[in-house]
């Protein structure tokens, strides 16, 4: 495949695959889905707690956000969170610069 696909399409494909891998695993293994749900609940709660501190408001806002993002919009939130992880951890740079360069594509086309 390397060199035969335009790099931009390959790049988008890599990102999309990395984004949907957890969804596929969640569909295949129920335990993984519950693990993801628990992880996202903790993440959302800690995010709200960091801003609002401990208290009843924190629990209410966390509950609303968990209902919206983790329960209702699970299939949208998981890929977006994966994209956020890829970008914030700096893996996007590795992916972008790891793409086949102009020379590689031309060499592959010449072959």
């Amino acid at each position: 495949m390397r060199g035969f696909l335009p790099p931009m399409i390959l790049l988008v494909l890599v990102f999309v695959v990395l984004m949907i891998i957890p969804l596929i695993l969640a569909e295949l293994f129920d335990t993984f889905k519950w693990l993801l749900i628990v992880y996202f609940c903790i993440t959302v709660f800690l995010f709200v707690k960091r801003i609002l501190g401990g208290g009843i408001i924190t629990y209410i806002v966390s509950g609303i956000l968990i209902y919206i993002f983790v329960i209702r919009l699970f299939y949208l939130f998981v890929p977006l969170y994966m994209l956020y992880l890829i970008v914030s951890l700096g893996l996007s740079g590795i992916i972008v610069f790891g793409m086949p360069g102009r020379g590689t594509a031309r060499k592959a086309a010449a072959r």
Binding site: V61, I68, M99, G101, G103, T104, R106
Partner: protein, 135 residues
């Protein structure tokens, strides 16, 4: 049963519109979630600058109303969206893309001294010899 009654009970219009209404429900939920997140960022910003107290709470409510529900909401929401993109590090991704230029076939390559494997070098050498031998 009368076929028309069966058709009415199936309600094909509902079938057609259900995916659209489901998507709209999801979009509305997403917007609501985004607004709550923006409100949390406003709370963080105001508390970080002015500490706690009743005046700060009023300020948070006023800012929240202006940024989320007033006529200026679309402008502020767009700005907030861009701000979130920047703080989540998506600007780095854009910069990487601009530097690497994958839409132009990627950066680097042979012209700028890219790597050549031994096999490619020997192939090129053999091709050159063949060309030279022809003349």
């Amino acid at each position: 049963m009368d076929p028309l009654t069966i058709l009415a009970s199936l309600n094909p219009l509902d079938w057609l519109l259900k995916p659209a209404t489901d998507i709209m429900d999801s979009v509305n939920l997403l917007i609501l979630g985004f607004k709550i997140v923006v409100l949390l960022f406003i709370v963080q910003f105001v508390r970080g600058r002015f500490g706690g107290g009743p005046i700060v709470t009023i300020l948070i409510l006023v800012l929240g109303y202006v940024m989320l529900f007033s006529n200026l909401a679309p402008i502020f929401t767009t700005a907030m969206f861009i701000y979130l993109f920047i703080i989540f590090g998506f600007s780095m991704l854009v910069m990487d893309l601009v530097i690497a230029k994958p839409w132009a076939g990627g950066g680097g390559g042979e012209e700028e001294g890219g790597h050549t494997t031994g096999r490619e070098y020997s192939e090129r050498l053999a091709k050159n010899r063949a060309v030279r031998g022809r003349f």
